[in-house]
Assembly symmetry: C2
Homo-oligomer: 307 residues x 2
């Protein structure tokens, strides 16, 4: 079977399903935005990696090299933020075509350094190899206070489902052949984590429907999304499935939704919107139209092997 | 300027030379086998990454997929071992061509899991993306007791220069179109670290002359290598420059050389050989032939951009 047909998540599942049990130092292994490791009495270590590849994640003809570097860092920061943590260190692994101009590499690395400065991340190492296709693979380390850790697995039936900002802009930019640098919701994530009000959190890198699917899988719950309430610029059809928004998707108990919306808006100015509700697993996964009709939730989110 | 002309180490130097100063949590940043971070009272965290790329580090027509996976882990374990540490966790970042057979990927991952089991490393996450060329990029975490940390920077004039095992076999295998899985000297490295006798250590991934160059750079010393004493199978010319042996190169004060040789051989059965001596920086870097004549040490080691 070819991998394109298998799909990214099925492949991850198949490759890792027979891994031995984790040791007690591993709080979360495979299956969340980051792995979570015990570190000292009051903190967890977060580790994650994400890659940007020429022709897959960016087109050199369209994207500014500095933006490519910035984004390579930002997508990792977003994963750390989604756990309620703050990024601390990274390693930068570059695969560089032999005949690529050094100035181009310099500009990419300038973008990496710029983003690292913005998010207070120290570059402590890395690797350089040659290859056919430019790739920027970043490994990021972060930390989170134990009582501020937010996982995909904490959503409960009755919780409200919330998103920060608005969705679909990144997908619209891609459709217009533009390349955007995501602004990570690191500050908002920190406000949410410190409030200790959220029950789960994930960043929207692969589209709302795909990400809520992960939350439902890990939390063993169902969901209904009110599609008319998904915050998106008028006329945009990308809001449900469009990837790369890097907004936060979180759940919070029903009576705390207003409080967290007010808190985040007051402290960061960022809008948080209720877009759905968590159901019991037996109730299934649905999208509800403005007329109250439900259709089954089927994800069309970004699959890194199919696209 | 093209990167091929610039060279790997010059490029790393240029990209990272204007990084801000590291925080006090960073014991070693860029420039050793691993980065070293403070962790708790008695330990340091080690982090490193290394990649195996199709057509660069291995040829699919020659290499068994399971061996490719094993090696991708082993090269990282070797970097942790060279610091005196033990590996603990890793992330596996895969770039997979769309039409690659799933069975092939499974076999590579089987090799990764096999090596992780051998070296007691837990796979706690990773990433999968599509790309033109298969790449296995592994990010490894390890730990080391503070008083057992071994850096490239500790060599002192008068120290003896030692290597474990013998050199040149991997390069000979490559010349014969074979693909070998390095056996990491993790056990030997641990014996050396616990003895607290060595002043510096590095693993030989890029050839003896290249690696001793790094030790001289970081320790600010010179060196003389006795070429007739470099342990190599008879008739092999690869011993000085051949890469990928993954033996350990270490320095130890002159009066402790016999002791460490005896200790490692007794506890592991592995031969350790004196191959040179550390000089004052002003005395330069030399290779001494059996007739006592010195020639300047010029490295022909593996450059990941030039090859």
């Amino acid at each position: 079977m070819k991998n394109k047909k298998l799909g990214e998540f099925e492949l991850i599942d198949r490759l890792t399903r027979d891994l031995p049990n984790f040791s007690k130092d591993v709080i979360v292994g495979i299956g969340d935005d980051c792995a979570v490791l015990k570190q000292g009495d009051n903190k967890y270590l977060l580790v994650t990696c994400d890659v940007q590849i020429e022709g897959v994640h960016f087109l050199p003809a369209v994207a500014e090299p500095e933006n490519i570097g910035q984004k390579a860092v930002a997508v990792n920061v977003s994963d750390i933020a989604a756990m309620g943590g703050k990024p601390t260190f990274c390693l930068v692994s570059l695969i560089i075509p032999k005949n690529m101009e050094s100035n181009y590499i310099d500009s990419i690395y300038d973008g990496i350094k710029k983003s690292c400065k913005l998010y207070d991340v120290q570059i402590i190492g890395g690797n350089i190899s040659s290859g056919k296709q430019l790739a920027i693979d970043i490994f990021m380390i972060g930390e989170v206070k134990r009582d501020e850790l937010l996982l995909r697995s904490g959503a409960k039936p009755g919780d409200k489902l919330l998103v920060t900002g608005s969705l679909g802009l990144a997908a619209a930019a891609v459709a217009l052949q533009q390349h955007s640098v995501p602004h990570c919701r690191l500050h908002e994530a920190s406000i949410i984590a410190k409030s200790k009000l959220a029950t789960s959190m994930i960043d929207i890198s692969d589209g709302l429907l795909s990400e809520i699917g992960h939350v439902c899988d890990k939390s063993d719950v169902g969901v209904v999304i009110y599609d008319s309430q998904v915050p998106a610029p008028k006329g945009l059809e990308f809001a449900l499935n469009g990837g790369e928004d890097y907004e936060l998707l979180l759940t919070v108990s029903s009576d705390m939704a207003d409080k967290i919306i007010e808190l985040v808006q007051k402290k960061s100015g960022t809008l948080v919107t209720v877009v759905g509700e968590i159901l019991d697993k037996t109730e299934g996964r649905w999208i509800q139209s403005i007329d109250g009709k439900n259709r089954p939730l089927i994800s069309n989110g970004w699959d890194h092997l199919a696209n």
